[in-house]
Symmetry: C2
Subunit: 405 residues, 2 copies
């Protein structure tokens, strides 16, 4: 008998029919003799609908009241799923975040799980109940409702799996696994049987919206085996686990991220400390900077370019513009029509030729590279957004031939 945590996203419980599909998966797992904890998101567009309703009343509503409103979403889906499980004849109980012991920080809207006290969950499992828990939510030290931010239900599921020492944490989503590239865009994309936590993290960061990043970090930290799979196909998905448990693949995937903008500060004097000043200003505003490139300029000046998320572009420009003169730089420019394309793979550490192959693929496709960034298991290039899909396909075809998988 195993303890299995199963998480279902909003599209998996969007209507009565899909709720029964989920109830069928859950009770099937239970009837095989397993203890089952189910983590559920709000139904379909519920969260967006509630946000819309709030905006109609007060676009500047406090985050505390927003969280009070939004947590009702999972409350409804959790109780409806429990009713469907009752209908299928299995004992079940639904629990809200606070009942399930999710203690979080006080940052309404983006709270972090500080601790899970699973006493109630344990008690219900001891009674042989299936336990349905509302994802995405918890309670802070004031006993106020908090939400974990978008994708937070994944984190809820992994947190329960970690604290309960679950044997497996299954993340049911609307894709059936992790692919070597976006299967809707790249015809030859293949589903991976396994992927390491680190590779998954890089892919998530790069815009492959399969798993929430924090949930993968947490799974890695507590060594929880994750499975990403679809609630509709009922086929094995992709297992995310420790790298040393698997054979290292050269490349595990190609990903594209269009939520990126490039900012360049032109003509920065070539003096020490100026780069620090620029990035500390951004850091103070909590603006994350990704690729950074410093080029040799003319007459003892240099150009500093970097990328930020699109939503931070305006803020970053507004923050830096007043300092351009102070820095002695000549101007600040930006470009939103860019995209980041990356390859990820635990195997590339020991294969120095990977970068060259990637650049060759782009050259052959006549795609110009604007910036390059590398890490031990990732190589990213910044290119024109118009070229992004072609770039992904070109790189994917370079690394993935049918006999390689």
């Amino acid at each position: 008998m195993s303890l299995i945590v199963q998480k279902f996203g909003g599209s998996s419980v969007a209507n009565a029919e899909r709720i029964f599909n989920v109830a069928d998966i859950v009770t099937g797992t239970y009837k095989q003799g397993n203890d089952v904890v189910v983590v559920v998101s709000a139904q379909g567009d519920t969260t967006d609908d509630l946000i819309e309703k709030a905006k109609e009343i007060n676009p500047d509503a406090s985050k505390r009241e927003m969280d009070m409103l939004l947590t009702a979403g999972e409350q409804m889906s959790a109780s409806l799923l429990a009713m469907a499980i009752e209908k299928l004849g299995c004992p079940v109980v639904s629990l809200l975040g606070w009942q399930a012991g999710f203690l979080t920080s006080s940052a309404y809207g983006t709270a972090r799980i500080k601790r899970v006290v699973p006493d109630r969950i344990k008690k219900e499992l001891d009674k042989k109940n299936i336990v349905v828990v509302t994802g995405f939510q918890g309670v802070n030290r004031y006993n106020d409702m908090t939400t974990l931010g978008r994708g937070g239900s994944d984190t809820s599921a992994v947190a329960i799996a970690a604290v309960m020492h679950a044997d497996l944490c299954q993340i049911f989503t609307d894709v059936d696994g992790v692919y070597t590239a976006d299967p809707r865009k790249v015809p030859g994309a293949k589903k991976l049987k396994t992927i390491s936590y680190n590779e998954m993290l890089e892919l998530a960061t790069l815009g492959a919206q399969v798993l929430n990043n924090r949930s993968v970090e947490m799974a890695m930290k507590y060594n929880i085996e994750l499975e990403v799979l679809s609630s509709l196909t009922r086929e094995p998905g992709t297992i995310v686990k420790e790298a040393n448990k698997m054979e290292k693949m050269l490349i595990s995937g190609v990903a594209k991220d269009e939520d990126v903008a490039r900012i360049s500060i032109i003509g920065v004097p070539d003096r020490p400390g100026l780069a620090f000043k620029i990035f500390s200003k951004l850091s103070a505003k909590k603006i994350n900077v990704d690729i950074i490139l410093q080029s040799i300029g003319h007459n003892g000046t240099k150009d500093i370019s970097f990328t930020v998320g699109k939503s931070n572009l305006k803020d970053a420009i507004d923050t830096l513009t007043p300092y351009i003169e102070v820095l002695g730089a000549s101007s600040i420019v930006h470009d939103e029509n860019v995209a980041k394309v990356s390859i990820v793979g635990a195997g590339m550490e020991s294969h120095p030729g990977v970068a060259a192959e990637m650049f060759e693929a782009l050259f052959e496709a006549n795609i110009n590279i604007r910036m390059i960034s590398t890490s031990e298991i990732k190589i990213s290039v910044l290119i024109d957004r118009a070229d992004a899909d072609r770039a992904v396909t070109a790189i994917h075809n370079k690394f993935f031939t049918p006999d390689q998988l």
Copy 2:
């Protein structure tokens, strides 16, 4: 500075415009220097919509999961109202039943408030916050969500008013006060300035759906002054308070109740204990019996008639039918086409002529009386349902002439 509890029903917060109307009333009260606790129901048809959603999935869902589902309704309306109050520039915090300290029995769907521990409410009022509390809900000793049954938000409001020693508890509803008869049916119906708890209780029991009965009982027990008023007209409503604080009116109202059915057991032998046996069987099934009439029959038998709520009719017939033979009675018959019309008034105790006047009004309108029941402040008659509206008007005209109010 006073502490005022204001309760708003579902129609008062049915949409964004109405929510702002409520926010305006609340902030107006607050700006006059009062501490304000607001109790709010779910928006418009939310509760019915949720019940519909549950039925689609499982018509026999457990009451525990139903309560988990339904309590989301007030959570949404409370947070939305808080956002509207924020928009109007006043400090506010919304609290769920469990956060506000509503400890209830475990009877899901019809839980009773056992205790209100208002520590959090007090703390928020000390911070000069307006406090919005979800009505209709609480938490039981298992820390599970419970609901108080229909009309439970009134009870929530009075319970807070009682435990906080509020100066006034205002129940905002879609009528603007308590009337001498249903104003939609009886043209001469007048709004009462005041009414005693006991009279209000009798009227509520009789189907004047203005205030939930349990809330009036609780207000009487803790001597909380209630005001029934409309959130739309903004005019003074009807004050419900202790009888000795007001001049006793002869009659305070005429009410009609069509949710009633008559059952007669014909030919019961005239032996002691048989009536007891009949009514103890009904009591065991928790079927409330209202008017009871025992008539002299023929040949040492009698007929026992009584009324029950329509929803209990089938159950009552099913319960008693097997015993008809055992009792030695000849048959059991029933009639659903009846209505109960009553007059209520604290003044009638000392005016023995009231009953006669009521019967005279019915005689003049050529309406046949089937059964009669009286208490110290109430006289009820059972008549054909087709005559009910005419009866109310006839009786109302008899007691209420323009100069009497």
